[in-house]
């Protein structure tokens, strides 16, 4: 990497003394070097293992060529797993963006106790995923003693056994509940940075509130929404704890996504080679997303 070893401060002052030269590298090196190690070493090892025929229960590792990738891409579960991953990314994304937009519009205007109500909305974001999933699973989704079962019986419906009949929907609800506060906060922050005079001007011109929203507010939100979509893709691609404490990927492979697939192959099946090949696959997908994200972000740095 090419970086300058020394640099001078750019300032308008003419005084030569203020052009202090400092050595930049000693200050940068600690974090840059540990991050470089963190970024490169495990990745190289993952690539290496992905070409090895290596099961922890049957060592040693032998070179296996593309055998892991062959196995991965002919695994009957893989299409299901990829599909599940997509559903787990786009389901919560759709819900959180729509609710986030609605909630942000709601909390953009003043009303008595707004800051407390806003704090309440944000609350789920601070709940750790394992807690959220277990509380939902037991206190709400439980088919006998859950609050939802009680509510369903109250209106004369048969209680739903969420995790056996709608496991995916249940997980989507949990993830969406956890992340709606985040989208709300981002979009609210964006709304509040909107120039009030612009809205006033549109109102003066006789624009109705709906057309004000479509022609003034929405274009302003384009960038924050783009940022939100990218970040959520990256976060939702690695949904893990919510599955771990509820369905363990089941029933069957109904709620197994790529992270959970790798987990079950590696730590439960001891197949290092296959899990590494799947890891490479996951990294590739994330990199495609990150590429778009970084490109989008770099425009505003």
């Amino acid at each position: 990497m090419k970086m300058m070893n020394t640099s001078t401060i750019h300032n308008k002052s003419k005084s030569p003394r203020s052009k202090q030269k400092i050595r930049v590298w000693p200050l940068l090196l600690p974090s840059v070097s540990v991050l470089a190690i963190w970024a490169v070493v495990p990745l190289v090892l993952t690539i290496w293992y992905s070409f090895q025929n290596y099961n922890l229960q049957a060592p040693p590792a032998v070179f296996g060529g593309l055998i892991n990738f062959e196995f991965l891409f002919t695994d009957g579960d893989l299409p299901v797993v990829v599909m599940n991953t997509l559903v787990m990314v786009f389901g919560p994304m759709l819900i959180t963006v729509i609710l986030g937009l609605a909630f942000a519009t709601l909390y953009d205007g003043p009303f008595p106790g707004r800051s407390i109500a806003r704090l309440l909305v944000i609350t789920p974001f601070f709940v750790m995923p394992t807690v959220a999933a277990l509380v939902w699973k037991n206190l709400f989704f439980h088919p006998v003693w859950g609050l939802l079962a009680w509510a369903e019986k109250l209106v004369g419906l048969e209680p739903i056994d969420w995790f056996s009949s709608h496991p995916m929907l249940a997980i989507i609800i949990i993830v969406s509940w956890l992340w709606t506060p985040f989208s709300t906060l981002i979009l609210l922050t964006a709304l509040q940075s909107l120039d009030r005079e612009q809205i006033e001007a549109a109102r003066m011109d006789g624009a109705k509130s709906v057309s004000r929203f479509i022609y003034v507010v929405l274009p302003h939100l384009r960038r924050p929404v783009a940022v939100l979509l990218m970040l959520e893709t990256i976060f939702f691609l690695s949904t893990y704890a919510e599955i771990y404490v509820t369905t363990m990927g089941g029933p069957g492979a109904a709620t197994t996504n790529i992270p959970f697939y790798i987990f079950s192959r590696a730590l439960m099946g001891f197949d290092v080679g296959l899990a590494s090949a799947a890891g490479i696959f996951a990294i590739l997908i994330a990199n495609i997303v990150a590429f778009f994200f970084v490109r989008n972000l770099s425009e505003q740095l």
Binding site: S18, P30, T46, G109, L119, L134, A282
Partner: protein, 275 residues
Amino acid sequence: MSRAKSEKIDLLRMILGWFVGILMAFPVFWMALAAFKTEQDAASIPPKLFFSPTLENFVAMNERVDYVRHAWNSIVVSASSTLIAIALAAPAAYVMAFYATKSTRKLMLWMLSIRFMPAVGVLIPIYLILVHFNLIDTKFALIVITCLSNLPIIVWMLYSYFKEVPVEILEAARMDGARPLRQLRYLLIPLTAPGFASTALLGVILAWNEAFWCINITATEAGTLALAIASFANSEGQFWAKLSAASLASVGPIFIFGWITQRQLVRGLTFGAVK
């Protein structure tokens, strides 16, 4: 717009605003309530809103999941990983903010791209390395990993706080011959104390709630609260009240942190893309 109509909108906004807020927070409220119920009350149909509260769950949960040990692990891991990350990040953020060159932007983007690498992609080698060095289920390993994965965000946040410091103030210090580390210590840290504080809080929150690495590389010895809670997943028998008590005791501290730092949190997680 007529005044009456505008008042009507405000009333509607208030009702909806409170309704949504209460609805979103309800699961947490319900969990907090269950933490003080007996197991019978927690599983009663119809659900009980009024009951005689008990504290016995908090005693029982400690016997069941060794709460105190896991809480201590959570505190140690989140505090030390954040402190180390800030110590590493501050000098780098200083250089990036005040001695920016053409490659600064690239360096920053490179750091962020590391944050985007899915942990699951590197789980295998890291697991095997930890096994090799006998570091599975140690706080040390968890601290190092948490620190590294939060480092890019912490560099970024400190950088954006430093950028807000007027260069003239540093100039004066430079004239007096203060070296970078002295400038950091005596000028930047005091000047951006609120920034440092919210960066630290964000780091602590992220580390506290982290579940992936905790579940995969730790067990009873070094596991944090995320793992203690996860162990309820396979529980048999009546445990809801105890689960709720353990949950409340695990998320409680973070709520306080989170409520204080909600704004900065967005900034930290969006890397300033949303002001």
